[in-house]
C-alpha cells in the first residue's frame, strides 16, 4: 500500500492555477524529492500534503486514509520548515515536547523520549536554552528532533537546508540521509538544489509550472531525461543543446547543425528523414578527439576556460553555437587555441525540436 497518493490534485488561488491535475503515488519508506525551479508549485504541493493549504480539487490520501479535510495535526505527518520555525519563547526541551504534550503523553514518558531524540541528534547540552542561543545548524537539528519525536507516518521537509552555509549544508544532508536509513520513515523533501535531490532521493519528482515533468530515480532522470526541460535542469554544468536536421544515410542517420555533420546509427531513437531535432550532450561526455579522428567532431576555438580543479570547462563556438566541454585539467587547451571534441553515441540525447520530448525509444 502506498504511503501517499495524490489523485487529480488541483490548486488554484482565485483564477491563478498553481497545480493542475497532479497524480503521484509515494511508496512506504520511500524518500521522494520534489525538485523544480522556484514558483513550480513544489512547496505548495508539500503544504497541501501537510494540510497548511486547502486542496482545490482532487484527493490526497496518507496511509490509505483520505486527508483532504483533516487538520494538519490529525494527518500523521511532521514537518521541518525552511526557517526552522522554532517556538522562540520556549526552551529547546519544550520545543521538542510541544507536540507530545498535545497528545497528552505522560510527563515522564515525554522526558524519556525527548532525551532519546536529543541524544540521537546531539542536542543534549542545549535542552535548557532558547532557540536564539543556538546556531543555525543546531536550530535545524531541533526542528528535526521536533518532527522525529512524534514518530510520524510521513516526514515533510520544506527546503530545510537552504538557510545554512555550504559546508553545514553538506553535513546536514548526510545527517538527513543517515536518519532516513535508520528510521525508514516515508519522506517528502522539497528543494531547488539538484545536488540535494540527486544525493538524497530514492525518486525525484521534477516539477515545472505545477505539472510533473518526470518521475524517476536520480540515475534515470540523469541518464534518460524525458524532455528538454528535465535535460537542461538536471546536471551541472548544463547540457549543450544543438539544433540539427535529421537525414537518412545508408543504414544510419546524419545530424546536420552547428556547422558540422554528425553520423549515428540511431537505433535507439524514433527518427525520420528531414525532421528538425535537438541534440543534447552533457559537457563531461565530450572527449578530446585524437588527431586522426575524422568524423563526429565538434570543433572550434576555445573562447572561455573555467578552471574547476580536477577539471576545466572549455567553452568554444561551433557554427555560431556555444558548446561547453568538461575535460580533465591536464587536457585543458590554451585560450583561443583550436579544440576538437568527439563523443560516444551512447551518451547523446535527441529531442523533438517542437515538442521538446525525448525521441528515445522506450
Amino acid at each position: 500500500m502506498s504511503a501517499i497518493v495524490c489523485s487529480h490534485v488541483d490548486k488554484a488561488y482565485g483564477a491563478t492555477s498553481v497545480i493542475r491535475d497532479l497524480n503521484l503515488a509515494i511508496e512506504e519508506h520511500e524518500f521522494v524529492v520534489f525538485l523544480g525551479p522556484s514558483g513550480c508549485g513544489k512547496s505548495t504541493l508539500l503544504r497541501m500534503l501537510a494540510g497548511l493549504e486547502d486542496i482545490s480539487g482532487g484527493e490526497v490520501s496518507i496511509g490509505g486514509k483520505v486527508v483532504n479535510d483533516l487538520e494538519p495535526g490529525d494527518r500523521g505527518i511532521a514537518m521541518v520548515f525552511q526557517n526552522y520555525a522554532l517556538y522562540p519563547h520556549m526552551t529547546i526541551f519544550d520545543n521538542i515536547a510541544f507536540g507530545l504534550k498535545r497528545q497528552r503523553v505522560p510527563a515522564a514518558e515525554i522526558k524519556k523520549r525527548v532525551e532519546a531524540v536529543s541524544k540521537t541528534l546531539g542536542l543534549e547540552p542545549y535542552l535548557g536554552r532558547k532557540p536564539t542561543e543556538l546556531s543555525g545548524g543546531q536550530q535545524q537539528r531541533v526542528a528535526i528532533a521536533r518532527a522525529m519525536i512524534k514518530t510520524p507516518k510521513v516526514f515533510l521537509f520544506d527546503e530545510p537546508l537552504s538557510n545554512l552555509d555550504a559546508k553545514l549544508r553538506n553535513h546536514m544532508r548526510v545527517e538527513i540521509a543517515r536518519l532516513h536509513q535508520s528510521l525508514k520513515t516515508t519522506t517528502v523533501y522539497v528543494t531547488h538544489d539538484q545536488l540535494e535531490a540527486m544525493t538524497l532521493a530514492d525518486r525525484i519528482v521534477l516539477l515545472k509550472d505545477g505539472v510533473i515533468e518526470q518521475i524517476g530515480s536520480p540515475a534515470e532522470i540523469y541518464r534518460r531525461p524525458g524532455n528538454m526541460f528535465v535535460a537542461g535542469f538536471i546536471g551541472t554544468p548544463n547540457m549543450n543543446f544543438v539544433e540539427v536536421t535529421v537525414g537518412r544515410s545508408g543504414n544510419g542517420w546524419t545530424l546536420t547543425g552547428a556547422g558540422t555533420v554528425l553520423s549515428i546509427a540511431g537505433q535507439g531513437y524514433h527518427l525520420q528523414h528531414g525532421d528538425r531535432a535537438v541534440l543534447g550532450i552533457r559537457p563531461p561526455d565530450l572527449k578530446t578527439a585524437s588527431a586522426d579522428r575524422g568524423c563526429n567532431l565538434l570543433q572550434g576555438t576555445a573562447d572561455l576556460i573555467e578552471f574547476h580543479g580536477n577539471d576545466a570547462l572549455v567553452t568554444f563556438g561551433s557554427g555560431g553555437k556555444e558548446i561547453s566541454a568538461l575535460v580533465p585539467a591536464r587536457e585543458c587547451p590554451e585560450l583561443r587555441a583550436p579544440v576538437r571534441y568527439t563523443f560516444d553515441e551512447q551518451s547523446i540525447h535527441l529531442f523533438d525540436a517542437t515538442t521538446g520530448l525525448s525521441l528515445r525509444k522506450q
Binding site: A78, F81, K130
Partner: protein, 275 residues
Amino acid sequence: MRPYPIRPGRLIAKAILALAGFLAVFPLVWTALNALKNNVDIITRVPRLVFTPTLANISYILGRDSVLTGLYNSVVACGSAVLIGVALGLPAAYAVARYPNRFAGDIQFFVLSLRFLPPVAVAIPLMVIWLQVGLYDTLPALIVTYSLLTISVIMWLAIPAFQGVPKEVEEAAFVDGYGAYPVFWRIALPVAARSLAGAIAFSFVLVWNEFLIALMLSSSNAKTLPIVASELSQQGMNVPWGILNASVVLLSLPPLLFLGVLSGFLNSVFRQKKT
C-alpha cells in the same frame, strides 16, 4: 586603543543633546520640587533650590475627598477600560492580522478613524447618549466610553505586532496538533507579548491623561483625577502653586508606576540566559 581626539563637531552634538535632555527633564524635576515647597518659596523672584521642605501640599491633596474620589474613579475607569480593551482588542487584532477577510482593511481604517476625529465631535454625541440612557455622570458610562478608545488603540498597535509573528511558527504548532485557539494563546500571544505590552501601556496612558471626554461625561460623581486637578487651579485669585504641583505629581505617578512594573515584568520574562 587610542582615545578618539575630541573634535568640535562631537562637542557641539553632545552639548545639544545635553540641552535637549535638560529641557525635557527640568520641568518635571521643578514640579516635583515645588510640590515640596511653601508658597513663599515658590513665588520668589529668584528661584530657590535650597528651601525648607514641607509635606503640607501633599497632605492637603491627599486629605481632600474630591481628590481621593477622583483617584478612585480614574483607577477604576482606566483599569476597567484597559482590561476590556485587552480582552476584546487583542483577539480582534489577531483575527484581522491572521485571518483577513475582505473587510479587514475597512476594519483597520474604521478603528483608526476613531482617533482622527476631534474629541469634541465624539464627546458631545456620547454625552447626549448617556444622558438619554440615564447613565450620565456614572463610572459605567466612562468605562464603556474609554473602552472604545482602548480597544481601538490596542487593535491598531496589536495588528502589526501579530503580523510580526512568523507565520511558520504558528504553522508548526498546527502541525504539532494545536487548533486556532491554542495557537493564539500559546504561540501568538507569548511571541508578540513584548510589543503587545507596549500597546497596552500606551492605551492606559492615553485614557489616564484623557481630559475632554471626562469633562463632558461627568458633573460631580464620576470626575476623574485630571478634572479634579484642574479644578484646584480655580480657587480664586491666589493660585495655590504648591497644591497644584503636588496634584500633578500625584497624577503622574500611576502611569510611571504602571510603565515601571510593565517594563520590569518584560525584562524578567525576556532576559536572555547568559551561557
